[in-house]
Amino acid sequence: MSRQHEHRPRPGLVMPVDRSTPPVLMHHGEQLRLQRLPADRSRVIYPPEPLEPIEDEGAAIREALDNPIDSDPLDQRLFAGMRLTIAFDDVSLPLPPMRAPDIRQRIIEAVLDRAAAAGVDDVHLIAALALHRRMTEAELRHAVGDRVYDALAPRGQLYNHDAEDPDGMVLLGTTDHGEEVEISRRAAESDLIVYVNVNLVAMDGGWKSTATGLSGYRALRHHHNPATMTHSRSFMDRHNSELHHSNWRQGEVLRSAGVEVFQIETTLNNDLYGNGPMSVLAKREWEWTARDRAGFVATRAALDRMRPGTRRKVMHRWRAPYGLTSVQAGEVEAVHEVTTRNVYRQQLVEVEGQTDVLLFGLPYISPYNVDSILNPILVHCLGLGYFFNLYRGRPLVREGGVVIMSHPTTPEFNPVHHPSYIDFFEEVLPETTDPVEMAERFEKDYANDEWYRHLYRTGHAYHGVHPFYMWYWGAHALDHLGGVVVLGGDPATVRRLGYRPASTLDDALEIASDLVGPTPTITYFKNPPLMMADVK
């Protein structure tokens, strides 16, 4: 950690494993493991250290609003009598949630200060959650702060996006690829949308913010489908991502329809743990001090002895002390180019060549289970959808290679957040794990199910179609890989996902050797903290 050792942040590290290499830390859901890797054919990719944060966030925000990229300053775009909509990223960003004050709060307050000065009365704030679950009051307060919440929520001017409100959505047109573009009516009919974004990974932001975050199933189905996902290589590399190409086309339609967007994007460093008791999780093993080691032993023992529910509560209580590394505002595409460079500046690690076997330790959290359970479908999504796609250039693992994921993968679901996931697990997965087949046979029924729709609109449930999307996230990986092994997972559940269970890494490698030969090369992608492989 830069703060601790008073030195410049070090870039990521690709370390070959030899016999003197200690066991490496591996997340295993809410638990922690130390795993020894085979010598002389393994390597460990360590994330870069957190970049130094911007010292004066307020000044940086003011600078971004006053000197936007390819846009007039925000003050000049605000006027009395206008309809202003401020949309912001939902609870899925960042992960883990940020310590208060959230960066969204600071930016929204700065925007509202200017709106007030310009005499703007008609202001709405929308949590741009697309088909995600509605945010709770506590989550909204955390994101926008109490001042904003108390000023606007009681008047009905701060609320969650509702993609199933028949009167709240508007169709704006169709792209030249036949993709419908439908977003929130309030946003579409505003004189200006200010979108406040948190770019935790390179996938976030750009036209994906408005075209996805404020849209619904009608528009999303055009890019959240197996074909698009399979040809997004990767989601983190916009120029090679079919998902982003589709969003950008939809953005063009928005622009043509006269929707004005003032995009504000932020990037954070990867300081998940600060200098506190969890800091050991971000350190390289040979740099663990006696205190780190004692803390780790105690934490691991405590977590292992807790009941799963208690363990989950403890882990989800963590708030990360991220630092702001950049904030830029203005025209959507121009802003996003700068943002992506800043994300890469923090996260990219140069890696030479692919590997036969790619190893992950999956942590307890993904974008879709904040304060919830990482159920088996989300395990698939986190492993094959997110971790596998954290590359630029080529996948870390070669075509026909094997991914080994360490996670308990128990058949547990949160019935409030993930009701359709339960049915997906019981009805769809026993029938097929092929994304194309499930899309054809089951997707529409789930997407149009009235009960799921009701739970999405009135409770805190993800949309009925959401588990399908989670499965599609892994479509590229499923197409690319020869096999997937889950280390330490519940065997029946793992088999239901179409993977193979293994109780030890040796067993997992034995299973993998059927597909990649007897002495495969192994790469352990030690994530989190977040990083991205730039594979040459």
């Binding site: 050792h5 590290l13 370390m15 030899d18 003197s20 200690p22 066991p23 040979w286 080691r293 780790f296």
Partner: protein, 322 residues
Amino acid sequence: MRVRTASLPSLRDLDPRRRIRSLGFPYTSAPTPASVEPLPGPALGDRYDSDWARSPIARATRVVAQETVGRAVTTALCRPRVHNRDRMEDLEGPAVFVANHHSHLDTGLLIGSLPRPWRHEVVVAAAADYFFDTPARAAAAAWFWGAVPMERQRVSRRGALAAAELIEEGWSLAIFPEGGRSPDGWGQAHKGGAAYLAARCGVPVVPVHMDGTDLVLPKGRRRPTPHRVTVNFGAPMHRDGEDARRFSARIEATLEVLADETRSDWYSARLAAARGETPSLRGPEFSTWRRDWLLEGSRAGRPGVSSSRRSVRDRARGNDPW
């Protein structure tokens, strides 16, 4: 009827430090991989910078400390008899002093036995993982003995390169090629570092055999028992076209002859060497108790009879890393 007896753990097995070490990481620290740049900060181990200990002030205070406290302790505990220093008469410039190693007293005894000018122009290769593991211990070793860190648990050339630089600057080097104190009184196989450094720097090796320090303060014992000690200097050796590995083997063989000379006489040792009958310092490859039995017997002058100089408890403690 067969009576089954439960095997009791030895006292050695019950030593908490040994047990913790045997657990490995994360209960003990992990070594820094050779391919990795270490974190800045208090550099320890073979990264410890001991330059300060060779400053004029540090050298002057070290001479005073060694000639007063060091000499008093050595004299009180070892009453050393130093033989054959005249073999170094033709020696000029730096050299590598190579000695057998049984006790923490060996370093002070060896330095104190060296003739001037080498006595105060010598650095001692000391275990990086033991003497340089904390700032305080590293500073004490570097100042009092002029110690420089040498890695012995993993492959690292950092210590060797630093030592080579010092030799090239004119410093002599004292080194114990066994890599640690004897765990049982017998010698251990030599590591190749001393021969490598001498060959690389083109300086002679002076073999030194010290006999008796294991009776004063062997590995594992905390309280010393005064006993007379003999220090026997050999003639400087030069590499004779052989590679470092063979040179190292020749140094080890010369030390065995010196040991034989200490316990018999010069000519008998020469005759035994000519016949290839010089007793090995490493001892026979017997089981532990037979090695102990033979060692004790040989010291008592009656092979096969144990004089039990060390108690069972002393032996049980014989598990320090150095």
